[in-house]
């Protein structure tokens, strides 16, 4: 089993018949997830993310389309083989879904109950998993006594009990505060590395995608409207919705609103413009400013700047007022594009109206 794509969804459509009007929750989506990837799926509420990932383990049978996981077409499996296949796809949820009648250890032992191993072996394995998620000393506690972050750790340990190759996380951090979210994401990243897990991560926060994903798909109204490497989607979003997610997560959106509210764009001098720069790599920011100044005689007055680490790359955002020869600026920008720098006017082009 060395297919490059551990999950391969082809032309998946899921239609719900809610009364009179059928809802196409997933609309002809094809999605291939490479083995060993951390693949993010982002979209607003109701976009169809949960429905799509529930198709992966056939918790939600699709109206049409084919599902191949680990080289197996799940739809052709008899019930027993399907259950066996599901064990190789762990899942964690926004509301943890732990059993309140079982202790933390009991919850982690649950998936092992159907395995032919002794009670002692089962307990040992569950304890090892609890240690892995940092909750060894909570074995005898009941979930009701744990914090949200701890509950999610228990759920992660439980999801790993069957030694899955894929872990699906459906908004696993949406109910958690930023600090706990970060800790859970770090844990997932650690598990990805140590256990060779492929992770499919659903979220509505670009911040989460940025933190651990390698690839991302943007969903809207049942369709994947954009997909690719996280760094390239971040620096070069094609769709307005993607741009919206990116700018919200980088604070650029708030910065643009703040700046356009304070800087009277109309009052800029004839040789001034408000520009939003976006660049990949650390050195890029320095070179924009110096290149513009030296080669093109354009001054750059920075109003906002931010650098993010995305999938191992530095990605920068900058809002600045440029002053000088504006004809030369367009020329400069075309050249800088090759170095991974992009620019967008926030002020209206002069003489446009």
């Amino acid at each position: 089993m060395t297919e490059q794509n551990i999950i391969d969804l082809k032309n998946i459509t899921v239609t719900f018949k809610n009364g009179a009007t059928p809802v196409k929750a997933v609309d002809n989506v094809s999605l291939a997830i490479p083995r060993g990837d951390i693949y993010g799926i982002i979209g607003y509420s109701g976009a169809g993310k949960s429905t799509l990932v529930r198709v992966i383990n056939l918790l939600q049978p699709p109206t049409s389309g084919t599902i191949t996981v680990n080289g197996q077409n799940l739809q052709q499996l008899p019930p027993k083989a399907l259950r066996q296949a599901r064990k190789k796809v762990g899942m964690i949820f926004q509301h943890f879904n732990l059993m309140k009648s079982r202790t933390v250890l009991g919850n982690v032992e649950y998936p092992l109950l159907s395995q032919k191993i002794t009670a002692a072996e089962r307990k040992q394995k569950a304890q090892k998993l609890l240690a892995l998620v940092g909750l060894a000393e909570y074995a005898a506690t009941y979930p009701s006594q744990l914090s949200g972050g701890q509950k999610q750790r228990v759920a992660i340990a439980r999801a790993l009990a069957n030694d899955p190759e894929v872990l699906i996380s459906d908004e696993a951090t949406s109910a958690l505060d930023p600090k706990t979210t970060k800790a859970i994401l770090e844990l997932l990243e650690k598990l990805h590395e140590t256990l060779d897990l492929t992770i499919v991560l659903i979220t509505h926060e670009m911040q989460v995608i940025k933190t651990i994903c390698h690839n991302v798909a943007v969903m809207d109204a049942g369709k994947i409207i954009e997909r690719g490497r996280v760094a390239s989607v971040f620096t070069d979003p094609q769709q307005p919705l993607t741009t919206d997610f990116v700018e919200t997560s980088t604070n650029v959106k708030a910065a643009i609103e703040r700046i356009t509210a304070t800087v009277k764009v109309d009052e800029l001098a004839a040789d001034q413009e408000l520009i939003y720069f976006n660049f990949i790599g650390n050195s890029a920011k320095q070179s924009i400013i110096s290149d513009l100044a030296q080669q093109y005689k354009i001054d750059v007055n920075i109003l906002f700047a931010n650098i993010d680490q995305i999938d191992g790359e530095n990605v920068g955002y900058m809002i600045a007022i440029i002053t000088g020869d504006l004809a030369g600026f367009d020329q400069a920008i075309t050249k800088l594009k090759d170095n991974g720098v992009k620019a967008r006017r926030l002020s209206q082009p002069k003489g446009a109206d």
Partner: protein, 223 residues
């Protein structure tokens, strides 16, 4: 004492006998109703739309049977069911014969209560179990019944208390028991003390069931 309850004093052995009959009727009809009620309740939950073994036909048949049986007033059920009682027990009167109407009077009620208790089990937990490859029977026994246990015990208490109430009506078909004493002796002979003491014993039984039930709930519940 003798002045307060003159007739009861002379009926001590009848009272002991009646209490035993009430306990007998309650106990055996509870056991049988528990089995039937759990079976129906579980089937209703798993076969309901979006249930783990969704089956529209089974669901609607069970649902209608339960509704129908629950609609028949018990005093009429006692009479109407007598051919079945004759078939099953060989007679239509007496303590054992009363078990048949008691079971049919209480198990549909219990089935609904069990159904509601199981519906309260978080659907997310069921879905998590499905995602871990649990089979329907594993989900029933290791998730539904286990997660729903505190609520099942609660509804069982309510059911047993209702059942004690029904046993008193079974006197109408010669079942004996405390209800029978209260009506056919206490009420019929204007011996109010007999009726009163029968009621007190029933109240004691009810409180005992409630106390024991609450204690068990406390033992099994973890939140």
């Amino acid at each position: 004492m003798a002045a307060l309850i003159p007739n009861v004093i002379s009926m001590q052995s009848e009272f002991i006998q009646a209490t035993l009959e009430t306990l007998y009727m309650t106990f055996f009809s509870a056991i049988i109703s528990a089995i039937l009620g759990l079976l129906f309740g579980i089937l209703l939950v798993v076969t309901q739309p979006k249930g783990i073994l969704e089956d529209a036909l089974t669901y609607s048949v069970l649902d209608k049977v339960v509704n129908l049986l629950r609609s028949i007033p018990f005093i009429i059920l006692l009479a109407v069911i007598s051919p079945l009682t004759q078939f099953l027990i060989g007679t239509t009167v007496g303590t054992t014969a009363s078990l048949v109407p008691l079971v049919f009077g209480i198990f549909p009620f219990y089935a609904r209560q069990v159904q509601n208790a199981l519906l309260d089990v978080d659907h997310g937990v069921v879905e998590a179990a499905q995602s871990m490859g649990s089979s329907p029977s594993e989900i029933i026994f290791r998730v539904y019944l286990r997660e729903g246990l505190p609520d099942i015990i609660r509804v069982s208490i309510v059911t047993v208390i209702s059942l004690i109430g029904l046993t008193t009506m079974a006197g109408a078909i010669g079942s004996g028991g405390l209800g029978d004493i209260a009506i056919s002796i206490g009420y019929a002979r204007f011996e109010n003390d007999v009726t009163f003491v029968a009621m007190i014993i029933i109240l004691i039984l009810v409180f005992a069931v409630q106390l024991i039930g609450d204690w068990i709930v406390k033992k099994v519940e973890h939140y």
